[in-house]
C-alpha cells in the first residue's frame, strides 16, 4: 500500500519536474538548483498528501463527536489558508532555498575543522539493515528537541509573543497546526534542522520526518472528543491531551501551575519525565484569555501582522521593563 502510494508520488514528481519545472529552470538559468527543486517538489507533494490524509482521516472525527460546534467558521478558514501556504509554499521554500544552503555552509565549515557528523547507523551498526528503525530513532530524538523548543516558546516572553499566534485560536480544528507566525516557523526549522544536522539525519530525509510530525500534529489539534486514556496519553499525543495544552485558562489550576502543560508534540513521555504531564480528562475551551476580537478573527496577512506587533511589544518590554508587555498592549476587546 505504502509502496504503491510512494510510486504514484514519484511518478507525479518526475513527470511534473521533467515536463514543466526543469524547462522553466533551464530558461531561467537556474539549472544548478535542479536537484534541490526536484526534492522540493517531492516535499510539496508529500505535504499535499499529508494535508489530504489529515482531512480524510480526521475531518470525519470532527463531524462525529466535535468538542465544539460553531455557526460561523471564518477563523477556521484562516487556518486552512495557513495550512496551504505553510505546507505547500512557505515552509518548503524556507527549507530548500534558505536553510538547506545555510546548513550546508555550516556543515562545510565543520569539515575544514576536521569534524564529520556521525551517522547513527555507524554508531549502532544493527540499524544499518533496518532503515525504518533508524527513521524512528531520528524521530524520537527530534521529538525530544521539539518538546524543549515548545517549552521555550512558552517560557520566553518574546517567543511566547510569536507563539501566541498559534494559541489565540478559539476554534481549534485539524487545520490549526499550521497557524504559526512565519518567524516562528523559521525558528522551528532552524531548531530542528540544527538538531537533525548534529545527529546526522541525511538532508534528504529531514523533510519526510517533518511530514511524519505534521500528521500527528494535525490529529492532536482535531476538534473531537477523543482521549487515549491515562496509559494511552503517555504513549501518543492525541486531541484531548493537546487540547488541555491549548486551554484558555492554561495558566490556572488544574491545567498547570504557571506556564503551561502537555508540551509534547508526538511522545507525551517527555511531559511525564519532566513533570509537565497533566492527564486531565476534560475538554477545555481553547485560546489565550487576553487575546480576542478582530486581532484573532482575521485573515492570514492581518494575523501575521498582529504577530509582528506582539513581537515588537514583547521586545520593547524586554528593553524597557516600564513598557507594557504584549498581552497588556493588546487587551481582549
Amino acid at each position: 500500500m505504502f509502496d504503491a502510494v510512494q510510486r504514484i508520488i514519484e511518478e507525479i514528481q518526475g513527470a511534473v519536474f521533467e515536463t514543466a519545472i526543469q524547462p522553466a529552470l533551464f530558461q531561467l538559468g537556474l539549472m544548478d538548483w535542479s536537484e534541490d527543486v526536484f526534492d522540493g517538489v517531492e516535499f510539496a507533494l508529500y505535504g499535499a498528501l499529508a494535508v489530504a490524509l489529515a482531512y480524510i482521516l480526521f475531518r470525519p472525527l470532527e463531524l462525529w463527536r466535535p468538542v465544539e460546534r460553531w455557526d460561523e467558521r471564518r477563523a477556521v478558514r484562516t487556518d486552512i489558508v495557513y495550512t496551504l501556504i505553510h505546507r505547500l509554499g512557505v515552509v518548503p521554500a524556507i527549507l530548500f532555498v534558505v536553510l538547506a544552503p545555510l546548513g550546508a555552509m555550516i556543515d562545510s565549515y565543520s569539515r575544514f575543522e576536521g569534524y564529520i557528523p556521525p551517522e547513527i547507523e555507524q554508531l549502532v551498526t544493527p540499524l544499518f539493515h533496518h532503515p525504518f528503525a533508524t527513521f524512528l530513532v531520528y524521530m524520537v530524538v527530534l521529538d525530544f528537541g521539539e518538546y524543549w523548543r515548545h517549552r521555550l516558546q512558552h517560557r520566553l516572553p518574546w517567543w511566547w509573543a510569536l507563539h501566541s499566534v498559534h494559541h489565540d485560536q478559539r476554534q481549534m480544528t485539524l487545520w490549526s497546526d499550521d497557524r504559526n507566525h512565519i518567524l516562528d516557523d523559521v525558528l522551528a526549522l532552524i531548531w530542528s534542522g540544527t538538531l537533525a544536522m548534529l545527529i546526522g539525519v541525511p538532508p534528504g530525509e529531514y523533510p519526510l520526518l517533518l511530514i511524519g510530525f505534521r500528521l500527528v500534529e494535525s490529529l492532536s489539534h482535531t476538534n473531537v472528543q477523543l482521549g487515549f486514556g491515562r496509559i494511552g496519553s503517555t504513549l501518543l499525543v492525541g486531541p484531548q491531551f493537546h487540547r488541555v495544552h491549548h486551554a484558555i485558562e492554561h495558566a490556572a489550576a488544574p491545567y498547570d501551575r504557571s506556564r503551561g502543560c502537555n508540551f509534547a508534540v508526538i511522545l507525551p513521555i517527555w511531559d511525564v519525565i519532566f513533570g509537565t504531564w497533566r492527564p486531565v480528562a476534560s475538554y477545555p475551551r481553547t485560546g489565550v484569555a487576553t487575546l480576542a476580537g478582530p486581532t484573532i478573527r482575521c485573515g492570514y496577512l492581518r494575523h501575521q501582522w498582529e504577530g509582528f506587533r506582539r513581537l515588537f511589544a514583547a521586545l520593547a518590554h524586554l528593553v524597557d521593563r516600564r513598557r507594557v508587555d504584549f498581552v497588556a498592549a493588546f487587551p481582549a476587546k
Binding site: 519536474f17 521533467e18 538559468g29 539549472m31 551498526t125 544499518f128 538532508p203
Partner: protein, 316 residues
Amino acid sequence: MLFSSRSVVFTLIALLGAASGMPGAAGATTAVVLNSDDDSLSVIDSQNYKEISRTHVGRGPHHLIETRDGRTLIIAMSGSNELVLIDRASGVEKQRVTASDPYQIGFSPDGKWFVAASLRLDHIDIYDGQTYELVHRLPAVSMPSHIAFSPDSKTAFVTLQGTNGLVSIDLASGKVNWAVQVGRTPAGIITRPGGTLLVGVMGSDYVAEVDPATGGIIKKIVTGNGAHNFLLSPDGKRLYVSNRVAGTISVLNADTLEVENTLQAPGGPDDMALSPDGQQLWVTGRWRAWVNVIELASGSLKTVPVGRSPHGIFVY
C-alpha cells in the same frame, strides 16, 4: 582515516558475479545502479530487463567507479560520508572508508591520486590513491561537480556548477592553476584522447572544448538542451553526451566532434555505461526512477524501473 568493520554482503551481486561466469551466461549483461534518493543499489539483469534486487547501501549514493585493476567497485556515499569498496568478482563488501561528502570521485590515470568533489559542501578532496589518506582539502565555490584528469596525472579539472566555473588544480601541491568561467552551470567533463577538455554546459545546449593549459574555450558543439555528461566508447571512436533537458543522447565522432546521431533517452538522462558487447547504451533517467537501455544499432529503447533518482551506473 577511519575504516569501519561493518560487513554488508551484496548477496545478489555476488550471485550474479558467479552466474556471469557460468556456461550459458555468455552475453548476459548486469547493471548496478545507484538510487541516490532511495539510499539503495539496484541490480538489473539483461535476461529480462528487470530489477532483480534493491539493497540498502548507505546514505546518498551518487557515483561509482572501478579501481584501475578492475577488482574493486567504489561507491561514493555523499550522505553517510563514506566510500564503500566492493569486491567486483564476489560482490562482497570489503571496506568502508570515511570521506567528507563524496559526490563525484575519480582516480588519476596513474592511480596516485583519488579525488572527490563535494557538491553540497563546496570542497574538493585530494586523497592518496593507495591509502585513501586525505592529502589536500580545497574550498571550491560553488558546487564542485564532475572531475577529469590530465593524461600525465598531474592536474585535476573540476567543474563548478554553482558559479559557472572550471578550475584546474595541481594535484601534488593542491594549488589552483587557473579558474575560468566556462558557461552556464557546467557539469560533465572529460579529457579527450587528443588532450583537450570537453565540458557539458548544462545551463545551455552545447559542449565546450577547452584548452587544458589556459582554460580558454576553443569551440562550442551544440548537442541539446542541458548537455550534461560524457562517455567515451572503449575504441575511442564515439563520444556519447547526455542532454538532460532535451532527454536525448548525442553521438559524436570523437575525432571531429561532429554530431552523428541523436538518440531518445527520456527522464533526465544522466550517467551512461556501455554493455560489454558495445551494442547497448544504458542511461540513468534521473527524474523518472528508471534506466533507459538503448540499442545503438536501431535506437530502440527499453525502460527499466528502479529506485528514486538513479544516478551512477556500472555495467558488466
